[in-house]
């Protein structure tokens, strides 16, 4: 029964990893661009949430809205004034610029919030659970996280395949050179993609804040989890990303069941093994 419980918890944890991964997947899908600071932005959102709720005593619902607005705006502006300048055939500049951003963010958070780990108290969400049997219980927070992941990915899917904006994003992903000849402004479209990805990053950060302790150096690990979920699922497949997150989550909880020390290692090893067996992921698209 402990194993069944580990799998159930792993699936739910996969929801959080899918939230980490969706933004990364979206940005790569539209711009062929990987943001090394992706995890650090998630952690920044988490800090913002904690600062608003525990620091400034803002109502949590208001804080959520504020965090999401802040992240989305910052994503748009960052893409427009900084990242668009380094997009191109040469992959080094975007990697380096976001690598530099990652180091700046981590140290700025350290400067502002110190190295102490933080957590957002989530009250009954944290403690309440649905007891299925004496060994298996589903916590409200993990359940909400998983539901949010499904909703976010479903929402992105809807935007991508049912709206003019999504059509333009897919066209830009196919052939950015030709899009301006159809009246599309690449700089704006890329910034919209990043804004959308940053909105998801905001959601992920808020859940991270409630789910675990985090500190200024927590970003890179989140980037790696996000990356692994994207690759396991298959590049460009949003639902694949959810499956990728679940595979990673289950690998980690099963690893932790064997030995608490190998939780993260087990996730990485399963990722590498899948990379050997299915280099294009479980649901390859591109």
């Amino acid at each position: 029964m402990v194993w069944i419980n580990a799998i159930v918890q792993g699936v739910l944890l996969g929801g959080l990893y899918a939230l980490f991964a969706a933004g990364l997947s979206l940005m790569f899908g539209v711009m062929r661009f990987i943001n090394i600071a992706h995890g650090d932005f998630i952690v920044t959102a988490a800090y913002l949430m904690v600062a608003l709720v525990t620091g400034l005593a803002v109502h949590p619902a208001v804080a959520v809205v504020l965090v999401l607005i802040a992240l989305t705006t910052a994503g748009y502006v960052n893409q427009r004034i900084l990242l668009n300048r380094v997009l191109g055939k040469d992959i080094l500049p975007p990697i380096l610029v976001t690598f530099g951003m990652s180091i700046i963010i981590q140290n700025a958070l350290l400067e502002i919030f110190s190295a102490d780990s933080q957590r957002l108290p989530a009250g009954w969400l944290e403690t309440g659970s649905i007891v299925l049997s004496d060994a298996v219980a589903i916590g409200w927070l993990p359940l909400l996280m998983f539901a949010a992941a499904v909703a976010v990915i479903g929402g992105l899917q809807l935007v991508f395949y049912k709206t003019p904006l999504g059509r333009m994003l897919r066209a830009t992903s196919d052939d950015p050179e030709i899009v301006p000849l159809m009246g599309g402004n690449n700089a704006h479209i890329f910034a919209i993609a990043t804004a959308l990805a940053s909105l998801v990053v905001g959601v992920a950060g808020i859940f991270l804040a409630m789910k675990t302790n985090f500190d200024p150096s927590a970003g890179p690990a989140r980037l790696l989890f996000a990356f692994e979920a994207v690759i396991i699922g298959g590049l460009g497949s949003l639902w694949g990303t959810l499956v990728g997150g679940i595979v990673l989550g289950v690998a980690q909880t099963l690893g932790a069941q064997i030995d608490a020390g190998v939780q993260i290692l087990a996730g990485h090893l399963v990722f590498l093994a899948l990379l050997v067996v299915r280099p294009r992921g479980l649901f390859p698209k591109m």
């Binding site: 059509r167 066209a171 052939d175 030709i178 000849l181 159809m182």
Partner: protein, 238 residues
């Protein structure tokens, strides 16, 4: 007739390589003009320069009464210039209808709509939900033309639309030209097929090595003149 497009002394470079040496081309409203010339003569470069795909800052390009040199490509598109790019360049992950709708993103008003495009190219109706790239070459070309028309352009640029297509298919596609002109749209076609260009155009420019070597109406140009301007065989072309 009113001038729609006019370039004076247009030059273009790819790095250190000069591709255009002072091109003077004009298109009147509602007119159909053809650019002919061999591979590498600079025809496509000319289209890239006027659409904003390669920088033309500080040059003399007038379109619909505005100085458009140096404008971004999307802004030029919104001013009413639409392009059917060489090689069609349909968006592979979009359906036929979505490809067409991308063309309408600029929301310019005018006669062209999904229904109007389907009426022009009835073959596309049955394929509207197929991926654009799952069509035959001729049908893909129709989508590319339809996509450009969806923006209700004042000037439609067609880059090598007959390239790689069977003669029968080329004929089908060119039957659309009068219908497009009937809506008031001027057309600038780039063609390697001289016969086709002379048949469809009001006026012809012949390009060679980045320069205009001959211009005139199909009726006044002789075969020898065109051959000379095309291949540079004799001096008397001018």
């Amino acid at each position: 007739m009113t001038r729609l497009l006019e370039t004076q002394g247009l030059t273009a470079f790819y790095g250190d390589f000069q591709a255009l040496f002072g091109i003077d081309v004009s298109v009147d409203e509602g007119e159909c003009v053809a650019l002919i010339g061999s591979n590498g003569a600079g025809k496509s470069t000319f289209l890239r320069a006027i659409t904003g795909m390669i920088p033309a800052r500080g040059q003399d390009v007038m379109f619909a009464g505005q100085h458009i040199a140096g404008w971004a490509a999307d802004r030029i598109h919104k001013a009413g210039m639409a392009m059917v790019p060489e090689g069609r360049r349909l968006f592979p992950s979009l359906s036929v209808e979505e490809n067409l709708l991308i063309g309408a993103a600029g929301k310019r008003p005018g006669p062209w709509s999904l229904d109007a495009v389907y009426e022009l190219f009835p073959d596309l109706v049955a394929k509207r939900h197929n991926p654009g790239t799952a069509l035959s070459g001729g049908q893909q070309q129709m989508v590319a033309i339809g996509r450009a028309l969806m923006s209700n352009p004042q000037l439609l640029l067609c880059d090598e639309i007959s390239l790689g297509l069977a003669p029968k298919v080329i004929k089908d596609i060119y039957t659309a030209v009068p219908k497009i002109r009937a809506g008031g749209t001027a057309i600038l076609v780039v063609e390697q097929d001289v016969g086709q260009a002379l048949a469809v155009a009001d006026r012809v420019y012949c390009f060679m090595e980045g320069r205009v070597t001959l211009t005139g109406t199909p009726a006044t140009l002789t075969r020898a003149q065109i051959a000379a301007a095309y291949f540079g065989t004799t001096e008397e072309a001018h």
